[in-house]
């Protein structure tokens, strides 16, 4: 056992330098040089102000914006505290929460499931096209824009699965709301 002491220490030390510092730091250097946008979190900037990340969901509560899925974080869409509700399907707490959310959303049955269920990360940036369409009437009324124009915007913002198969059809809420602001400004 003693004869293994030196190799054990050398390999742990040497590999810590190689795999723990050289590897991630060189990856950081390459990523920052070649793909600075992605490497720094795909941030959306408006001048000096960071509006958020293209990839990370944000909370919207005003009636004139499209709302994201419920978030299980203590402060919804807290991007320092990702996670789901971890409630099982028979949980009374879950049923009560969803019943309240269904009532608050005021959507006609069948309610799009993603509109009232919490995502795994609490930071889901997307909603389903059905969920977005179900919110069109509220948003259009709050903005004073014709519902048909808002519905058309939703359609334009709907992203199809990658290569036609990977993933699900979806609408990025932040991108949709930014496009909505642009539309309202016209």
């Amino acid at each position: 056992m003693i004869s293994h002491l030196r190799p054990a220490l050398v390999f742990v030390g040497g590999f810590t330098l190689l795999l723990g510092l050289a590897y991630p730091l060189s990856m950081t250097a390459i990523a920052t040089t070649l793909l600075p946008h992605q490497a720094q979190g795909s941030l959306i900037r408006d001048g000096d102000r960071v509006l958020g990340s293209e990839l990370v969901g944000q909370n919207f509560t005003a009636p004139g914006y499209f709302h994201p899925r419920p978030s299980a974080a203590a402060t919804p869409y807290d991007a320092m505290a990702s996670g789901g509700s971890n409630l099982g399907p028979l949980s009374q707490k879950l049923i009560d929460r969803i019943r309240a959310d269904v009532a608050a959303a005021g959507m006609a049955a069948p309610v799009p499931a993603d509109a009232v269920t919490a995502s795994a990360s609490g930071l889901d940036p997307d909603i389903s096209p059905q969920n977005a369409q179900a919110q069109v009437a509220r948003v259009a009324a709050a903005r004073g824009i014709a519902p048909a124009r808002v519905a058309e915007l939703v359609e334009r913002q709907t992203r199809q699965p990658i290569l036609g198969i990977f993933g699900a059809p979806r609408v990025n809420v932040l991108a949709l709301n930014r496009a909505l602001d642009t539309l309202a400004a016209q």
């Binding site: 054990a8 742990v12 795909s42 320092m80 099982g88 993603d114 609490g122």
Partner: protein
Amino acid sequence: MTVIGWLQIAAVLLCTLATAVPLGRYMARLFSGERTFLHPLLHPVERGFYRLAGVAPDRDQGWLNYAFAMLAFSAAGFAALYLILRAQGLMPFNPGQLPGLPADLAFNTAVSFLTNTNWQAYAGETTMSPFSQMAGLAVQNFLSAATGIALAMAVTRAFARAGTDQLGNFWVDMTRATLYVLLPLAILVALALVVLGVPQTLTGSVGAVTLEGAQQTIALGPVASQEAIKQLGTNGGGFFNANSAHPLENPSGLSNGLVIWAMLAISAALPITFGRMTGSERQGWAILSAMGLLLVAATATVYWAETSGTPHLTALGLDPLAGNMEGKELRFGQAMSALFVAVTTGLSCGAVNTMHDSLTPLGGLVPMLLMQLGEVLPGGVGSGLYGMVVFCVLSVFVAGLMVGRSPEFLGKKIEAREIRLAVLAVLILPLVILGFTSASALLPSALASLNNAGPHGLSELLYAYSSAAGNNGSAFAGLNANTPWFNTTLGIAMMLGRFAYVLPVLAMAGALASKPRIAASPGTFPTTSALFVGLLVGVIVILGGLQFFPALALGPIVEQVLMRDLVTF
């Protein structure tokens, strides 16, 4: 279930098969000591390590010496990681000025990463600095995976060699697995992930002001480099609390496909390596077929259960066509969420893109059962292969009992000593899982950690110890496991699951290596046929099923029955 959904699943599994063959043959050459196309670049580095460490690469080790080397390396890795975590506040690259971890959490985390489990009783965003993630956790992501591959190669040589008790050199196997397999793949996957949107920066977090004027602080870090090895090494410890569900760890359907492939790539290739090195590639295919059959069955079950929706929510007016969406990310869809659930637990990965705690009862039963079956479908890198070899040995033994002939596997006679050691290894899992789960169920302070009442609460406990003992690391994450009781007992379960399992397996390998190879006779039970694959599947399912069925009946099974009657807790 939809056609598009199954197309996605098929695409990922076919890509895995397509890479398994060349990667498996490459590893067979590498671990047989032949030159590979990476030698001009990496051989000097490899030799430099041996010189510094005073290792003679040509000197092979018997099973006991091999085991001692592995244990010494693991002990040193544990000490280094434990110290880094405890002294986090004094280390560089700590923009959030995070303090050191308390002793029980540092112990649990160090054991967890050392044993390739990556159970996480902490939330990455608010607990770990970029330095701890890179120089602490990611290093063990590489080294625990390399250790697994090394052990699998030692077991492989038990059948490749005859009349010797030498199984290879642990230091050489571990170094080659790291330098020639894990590191090059990790570099490729890390860069691909950055292209797809995964951040790679030393910035800890960035502040944003939303369109509505609210503040949002977005956690960042060197995510891509960590994510790549976390998947390739079947470690599974997420950079962020939400793991592969977090949009910055797994931004799209495409990245999701890539990380599922990365989880499977090496484990699916190792049976091919095993076949090549033992002179029977058909044997590798037989093992891979058994793994694949069970994995596809598990995926189909989860996919069906989750898309069937839950009657409670349908009663509230939710669209049942979307399936159970609580705890799922929209961008992945039900099919690729189901595949991830089955793969991460069929492997000993434990990364999650779905919150397993919120799965339907049947959907949650599958990952639990896959862990209890011993994580051999296709299992963690290395550990899946040697686990499967144990099941092969047991299968030929069962076949031998049925036809009354002395069992053989790949020309080696399987005798009483090998069977005793194989059974000893297999018994570790039920002992640890059922023992600790029962103890926790009797302990009021442990029950205070539960997030769900009723049978789902028992499932949270059973899942935790199945995950720890199987070195998986995924969780029914509602359980608050960051308490001294859980940190300590789960730490012990992880150590037993890794070391108490592999020591008898190495001893078995040592005994097998020294036996002569006997030529196949007409009475030899063929171990490459469809009949053998069926027998192997049967042994895995019946052994696991009988051990854990009573416990599962009290958890997910009764819950599934109660769900139909709209019972709540």
